[in-house]
């Protein structure tokens, strides 16, 4: 066995020698100027350049940056391989160290889009930063390279403002990846989960599931990097981009590009150019959860239209809800109209400016549904009247001739607030008809007269028998044209008044003067009219029309005081004192006893004298016949 002490000495000696050799060797390397200090002694000169392919390249390396970089511990030659200090340039082959010779555990990088990109593009060359710092400035470093227009928009996007970086979507680091269309929703959904879920309920999502390649994802509407949030831009970049494309949405049906294109000339479409308040696609269709109208959940489904339109047109919708249309609508009646029934869908026009809502044309809108409808009560001639009878009316005729004062449907029925006549609130309820017909611009004089009349008195007392405008003039087919046929007019008028005034029931119920029609018809006036003479007094000639009053009223045309004037229109000789008995003598005995006496007397004379004559002559005839026979025999 070798003694322990000697062994230790040997080991020491050898170690010393090796160390010495190593140290000397080391000194040799340093002395051969391969250390970083030596490199920097030249390269710290800011003006150090070289020329390559005619370009000046700066060869400056900031020692401070280098020394504070994470690579401070490494030597230049660790990266700059094949270095030869004596040659300039130092290496013929500018061969850089593969970063992975040291960093050999970079997982997934080969899958990254940056696989072929030099590490230093991100990590920089000499002032290699710690990962932490790179992360912090990731976006900036991405944008250093990614300078295309689209991506540059990112800097001004809402994401940029809210510090959402590239890596938040693209993962970043060595895993940085492109985002395929399929992944977009998930990527966005990481933050925008609610919208993602909403989107999953949309028609867009449904068709995407069905394999439609054109179905949009988040970025199709919001853009990828500029991230649109303004409604107007989303719609024009997003919705309209596809929905105006006739290749994607052919035809002319609902849903076609042509159909959607109507929006551009709609009042919504026109207004929004200057005013982003006007309804755009999403205002009606909803945004992420957009659905076809046949889906009950859709904002454009019939059942939800009031809610949708009412977002902006609140007052109008409230009126509508109370209307007959509205109450039916709320009952989910199939027949009930909704906003779009009258106003259209994409082609919604201004009711004030558009021809479609001109007074003449609006009629067609209403008649689209009401063409065959009947007015629920018979008219003054006891006939059923069609709603479309309006087409024969003076009102419509005047309208067609361009008289814009003439009323169309809405003047009398109201537009959104239209109501059945039996609703007391309705513009056409019995109590309101006069106000409706007499609205400003219309029949104000007639209204004023009518409001003084005994007929109106009845109306104000809720008397169901009392007539108002339409009771006499009819409803839709109002034809009080200035008729040339005076006689027909006169006869119609008499028939009209007789409708009520010779109805026994009605006369009794209201304690009206009796037999006015009969007595008129038997009077010379009545006989003449019946005989076809137009220039003779009818009801209106004496009683007036709208302001009809009972004879007891001193301002009545048939008050005794006024009779001379009234009758004097035709009979010059008329004077107050001359009216000594009733005109409509319904009860001769009471009202005109002289006539009664004369009539009785003549009855007796006629029956007596003529009776006697008949008897006398029958006997005479028999006698003479008999004698003739005897004489002949």
């Amino acid at each position: 066995m070798i003694p322990l002490r000697r062994n230790i000495v040997v080991i020491f000696a050898i170690s010393f020698l090796i160390s010495l050799i190593l140290i000397i060797a080391d000194r040799n390397i340093l002395s051969s100027s391969k250390d970083t200090e030596t490199c920097l002694s030249c390269h710290e000169d800011k003006d150090l350049t070289m020329e390559k392919n005619g370009k000046k390249i700066s060869l400056f390396v900031s020692p401070e940056h280098y020394k504070s970089s994470v690579h401070a511990g490494a030597e230049c030659v660790d990266c700059h391989l094949n270095y030869n200090p004596d040659e300039i340039p130092h290496s013929k082959k500018n061969e850089l160290a593969g970063c992975n010779s040291c960093h050999d555990n970079l997982k997934g990088i080969e899958k990254s889009v940056h696989n072929k990109v030099n590490c230093y593009e991100c990590h920089s060359k000499h002032d290699v930063k710690p990962v932490r710092l790179i992360r912090e400035n990731q976006t900036q470093s991405c944008l250093n390279c990614h300078k295309n227009k689209n991506i540059r928009k990112f800097s001004t996007s809402i994401h940029a403002k809210k510090n959402v970086g590239c890596d938040d979507c693209h993962k970043g680091g060595h895993q940085t990846a492109k985002i395929s269309k399929n992944e977009v929703n998930e990527v966005c959904g990481k933050c925008h989960n609610k919208n993602k879920m909403a989107f999953k309920n949309s028609i867009h999502h449904t068709v995407m599931q069905g394999g439609n390649k054109n179905a949009p994802v988040c970025t199709d509407c919001h853009g990828s990097h500029d991230i649109l949030t303004s409604k107007v831009s989303i719609e024009s970049e997003g919705c309209l981009n596809c929905h105006l494309n006739e290749k994607l949405f052919p035809g002319e049906e609902k849903g076609s590009a042509k159909f959607v294109a109507q929006y551009k000339t709609s009042i919504h479409g026109l207004l929004r150019k200057g005013d982003s308040e006007a309804a755009g696609c999403v205002d009606c269709h909803g945004d992420h959860m957009v659905q076809t109208p046949d889906n009950p959940a859709s904002a454009t489904a019939k059942a939800r239209l009031l809610e949708t339109c009412g977002k902006c047109h609140k007052e109008t919708v409230e009126k509508f809800k109370k209307s007959k249309h509205g109450t039916e609508y709320l009952k989910n009646s199939d027949k009930a109209p909704s906003c779009v029934t009258c106003h259209g869908e994409h082609d919604i026009k201004s009711t004030l400016l558009s021809d479609e809502f001109s007074k003449v044309n609006i009629v067609e809108k209403c008649l689209k549904c009401h063409e065959d409808g009947k007015i629920p009560h018979k008219n003054y001639q006891g006939e059923e009247e069609l709603i479309s009878g309006y087409r024969n009316s003076v009102h419509y005729e005047a309208l067609k001739k361009g008289n814009l004062d003439a009323p169309t449907c809405s003047e009398c029925h109201g537009a959104h607030e239209m109501e059945n006549a039996d609703n007391p609130e309705s513009k056409i309820s019995k109590k309101n008809v006069a106000q409706t017909c007499g609205q400003s611009n219309c029949h104000q004089d007639q209204k004023r007269d009518y409001l003084e009349s005994v007929h109106q008195k009845g109306i104000s007392e809720d008397n169901k028998d009392a007539p108002t405008c339409n009771s006499c003039h009819g409803n839709h087919s109002i034809v009080t044209k200035k008729s040339d046929d005076k006689l027909a007019k006169s006869k119609n008028l008499i028939k009209l008044c007789s409708n009520c005034h010779s109805s026994v029931e009605l006369v009794e119920r209201n304690d009206l003067p009796t037999k006015v029609s009969e007595t008129y018809n038997e009077s010379f006036h009545g006989l003449a009219t019946r005989g076809g003479y137009a220039e003779v007094a009818n009801c209106e000639s004496c009683h007036g029309n709208h302001s009809i009053k009972p004879s007891s009223d001193t301002s009545s045309t048939i008050n005794k005081k006024n009779l001379p004037k009234t009758c004097g229109k035709c009979h010059e000789g008329a004077a107050e004192v001359l009216f000594t008995s009733k005109i409509h003598v319904s009860d001769t005995q009471k009202d005109s006893p002289w006539v009664f006496v004369v009539t009785r007397l003549y009855m007796i004379l006629i029956f007596g004298i003529i009776g006697f004559m008949v008897l006398h002559n029958v006997l005479d005839w028999k006698k003479k016949k008999k004698i003739k026979k005897v004489n002949e025999d």
């Binding site: 001359l578 000594t580 004369v598 009855m603 004298i609 006398h616």
Partner: protein, 260 residues
């Protein structure tokens, strides 16, 4: 027919008067009742022919006819008082006691209480009734008609009550007059078996001897007596006898009574 002898009944003048009277009267009846019954078939028929202005035309024609009637009536009054024949006519038309007896006897005869028919002179009670009825009627219709015509003027005097009365009288008198003419006058002129089918006196002016014998035996008697007086005064008594015989021969007796 016993004889073709002609006995003058209506002179040409009278026939013209009668014709104007009857035509204006008939026109008045038609145009008058046309007002009252505008919906009746005959008025509609007329209207269909005349057309639109039927009613006005009716009024105008009624007034024209009424003027004719009134003029004829006024002439007739003149005729009665200023012509020889008219004076006689008026005298013969005046009712007298004999008419009452005639009427009573006639009634008795007609109901079978008596078997002799009273013998009538120039105008029987029947014709006198006819005549005075027309006089009365024309008077009433004229007055009330004029009131109705000039209503503006008369209203001042008669008030609306007066107008109503006038119109009532005018109407009922029209009925009475029309019925009287039809039942009374037309019977005796057309249906009366003695003259059937028509008494042509209003056209030709004369009656046949047979008609005279039936209707106006006393007149016939006087006229024949006059004739005889004139031609053969001395034969007057014989002629009278003959007439009497004749009267007896044609005296109309009730066959029923004869049988008894």
């Amino acid at each position: 027919m016993k004889t073709e002898d002609k006995y003058l009944r209506m002179s040409a003048n009278e026939r013209v008067q009668h014709f104007l009277l009857l035509s204006s009267f008939i026109v008045l009846v038609i145009t008058g009742f046309a007002l009252k019954f505008p919906e009746s078939f005959w008025v509609k028929g007329i209207a269909a022919v005349i057309g639109q202005n039927t009613f006005e035309a009716r009024g105008i024609v009624h007034r024209i006819a009424s003027v004719v009637l009134v003029m004829v009536s006024l002439y007739h009054v003149y005729y009665l008082f200023f012509t020889v024949r008219g004076k006689q006519l008026f005298k013969d038309f005046l009712p007298n006691r004999q008419d009452v007896t005639d009427f009573m006897n006639s009634m008795k005869y007609l109901i079978g209480k008596s078997d002799t028919k009273p013998l009538f002179g120039r105008f029987s009670y029947i014709e006198k009734m006819e005549y005075w009825a027309v006089v009365w009627g024309t008077f009433i219709m004229g007055i009330t008609g004029v009131i109705l015509w000039f209503e503006n003027f008369f209203l001042k005097y008669v008030t609306n009550t007066g107008m109503d009365i006038s119109s009532a009288i005018h109407y009922y008198e029209a009925i009475l007059a029309s019925l009287a003419i039809v039942v009374w006058h037309f019977y005796f002129i057309f249906l009366n078996p003695d003259v059937y089918p028509m008494n042509k006196a209003w056209l030709k002016g004369y009656l046949t001897r047979e008609q005279m014998e039936h209707e106006h035996p006393l007149e016939l008697e006087t006229s024949e007596k006059q004739n005889t007086d004139n031609i053969k005064e001395n034969l007057s008594e014989k002629a009278k006898d003959e007439t009497e015989t004749k009267n007896i021969a044609v005296s109309e007796t009730d066959p029923d009574i004869n049988k008894q």
